[in-house]
């Protein structure tokens, strides 16, 4: 070690090495014990077979858990649903959030704070509570959705909104959109408010106003924020758990299963801990790839 090495404030590092280590170490200990070591054991454990009652009795099975996953129809449904949620969330949450942000930024004069407050509110309500409220709304007998449709003479789904495998995942998306769109709106609105007024004045001289100005001038200027918004939404889409767990428990017949709920099902209901680890590793790989993109995006921004 070179004792004359200086830090950014300009004095010897070695005299402060101890306090630097003390400041840094708690964060590393917490993340290591509860994130990195468990990630390591998830990978190791995915090559073994063990159950809840035999947590320390591991049986080596090689790649069997991964072969099982590749042949497991419900694993593929879960993975496909996560991707559906990614794309639907980008369109519904980032897309609609951008439109709302643009309207609140320059589209309307009155009520900006009121609209922003209302639309942002769902963000602070627990997803479990949100899902239970929507269970009542979707209820075939007591729910307002069916009763409104019946009142105006429209047909209602015979298996219920959450009981029909063709529509249930979209019903979950309506709830997810209800909770998260306001967050995207606020994020993008912060970016829009950083665009200076001169830019709009210059655009107006060039004949670009309203939607045209937004599309050709504003949007490219907030490109980085949109990328961050898409990344946050994508990462969130792979973390989805509560909406599915409360609204459908992954049903009907596993049609709305996602990786989070399927890992939970395998680990804590079916007690296939080794198999659950293999599924976790799939999620881990996806998460780390997304994390890598996040790092790239934040460096550019």
């Amino acid at each position: 070690m070179n004792k004359t090495q200086t830090n950014s404030i300009g004095f010897s590092l070695s005299s402060d090495r101890v306090s630097v280590i003390i400041l840094l170490i708690p964060a590393l200990i917490f993340c290591t014990i509860f994130i990195f070591i468990p990630a390591f054991w998830a990978i190791v454990g995915s090559f073994y077979s063990y159950g809840m009652t035999s947590l320390n009795d591991w049986k080596w099975v090689g790649f069997d858990n991964y072969i099982k996953a590749s042949q497991d129809e419900f694993f593929w449904i879960a993975l496909k649903n996560n991707f559906i949620i990614v794309f639907a969330s980008i369109v519904l949450q980032v897309g609609v959030g951008t439109i709302l942000a643009a309207i609140l930024d320059r589209g309307i004069k009155y009520g900006k704070v009121i609209f922003r407050t209302i639309i942002f509110t769902p963000m602070v309500i627990s997803s479990v509570a949100v899902s239970i409220i929507w269970l009542l709304i979707y209820d075939p007998n007591f729910g307002i959705l069916n009763n409104i449709l019946i009142a105006i003479g429209l047909p209602t789904p015979s298996m219920g909104w959450l009981g029909d495998p063709d529509i249930s995942i979209w019903m979950i998306m309506i709830v997810a959109g209800w909770q998260n769109t306001g967050f995207m709106m606020v994020l993008i609105l912060a970016g829009l408010q950083g665009v200076s007024k001169e830019v709009y004045d210059a655009a107006e001289i060039d004949g670009a106003t309203g939607v045209k100005a937004f599309w050709y001038i504003t949007l490219p200027m907030i490109r980085n924020i949109i990328i961050v918004a898409i990344l946050i939404t994508t990462i969130g889409a792979f973390k989805v758990f509560e909406f599915v767990y409360v609204l459908t428990q992954g049903g009907p017949s596993n049609a709305t299963q996602v990786l989070g709920t399927y890992i939970y099902l395998q680990a804590f209901n079916l007690l296939h801990m080794g198999y659950a680890n293999a599924l976790s590793v799939v999620l881990l790989v996806i998460a780390l790839i997304l994390g890598w993109f996040q790092l790239k995006a934040s460096r550019r921004a």
Partner: protein, 272 residues
């Protein structure tokens, strides 16, 4: 001119419709609370005949107060730990050219990307080995770990913009790094601490998956688990379930409405 008016109608129309979509479930929740089970069945779209508070009493009788108290403790302990620990680490990353800093930052970003479900089984085993199953510390510890990476990133950005002159003066006066951090940096970081604390409180107050696997006995359950219990035990007694939800949501909503400026600022900072 008429084109301008049309755009205006569309703009107001769009935000109004979206606001109705957001408000409707909350209105349904509150109105259902005051209805009787008979009214729910016969007139799902009707207003409650009279203000009926019996469902509130029923919801409280199942121990909702205890669940709220547990959530309060879990949030309080986790958020204090997250803010202090993340602040210390971010300060080192932002201010000192330590050789390993680059790798520490990469680890932090990796930690941010990994969701609890990706380490679910080993995390359960870890908490079990620590003897913390069915203890609120069994969720406080892992939640703290999962909250740290994001908060470090948030503080890191804040400290980079922080003026260095004060620290330089303190260094000349002979303060150590620890003294500088606790006596100068912390007192001047109010806005960053508020943002981080607000964001983490919202997340931890509502966290469900880790609580679900770690806390199985009623005495230690947090609010989201308590709400599932209401739902499980009173499957079609919607007025009582909604009363429970109203009790659970209302305090958070009031806090949000009072501090909404800070909430918005906290989350908006994410994009930067």
């Amino acid at each position: 001119m008429s084109k301008f008016k049309l755009a205006n109608i569309f703009a107001y129309g769009f935000v109004t419709l979206f606001s109705i979509y957001v408000l409707l479930p909350i209105i349904v929740m509150i109105l259902t609370t005051f209805k009787t089970r008979r009214e729910i069945f016969l007139e799902p779209l009707g207003l409650p005949g009279q203000f009926n508070f019996s469902s509130f009493e029923k919801a409280l009788s199942i121990g909702l107060g205890g669940f709220i108290f547990n959530s309060f403790l879990v949030s309080l302990f986790s958020v204090i730990l997250i803010v202090i620990i993340s602040g210390m680490a971010a300060y080192v990353l932002a201010r000192i050219d330590f050789r390993i800093n680059r790798y520490v930052y990469l680890l932090i970003v990796a930690g941010f990307a990994i969701p609890p479900a990706a380490v679910l089984v080993p995390l359960y085993v870890t908490v079990s080995n620590l003897g913390l199953l069915n203890s609120i510390y069994g969720v406080v510890m892992p939640l703290t770990a999962f909250g740290i990476p994001f908060t470090v990133i948030l503080f890191y950005a804040f400290f980079l913009d922080f003026p260095r002159e004060v620290e330089e003066a303190a260094t000349i006066d002979g303060c150590s790094k620890m003294q500088i951090f606790f006596r100068i940096i912390i007192p001047l970081s109010g806005p960053a601490i508020a943002s981080a604390a607000i964001f983490q409180t919202v997340w931890i107050w509502n966290e469900f998956l880790l609580a679900l696997i770690m806390l199985t006995s009623d005495e230690v359950k947090t609010l989201p688990l308590g709400l599932m219990k209401l739902r499980g035990e009173w499957s079609s007694d919607w007025p009582s379930i909604m009363a429970g939800l109203t009790i659970a949501i209302l305090p958070v909503l009031i806090v949000f409405l009072i501090f909404q400026k800070y909430f918005v600022r906290s989350l908006a900072g994410l994009g930067k």
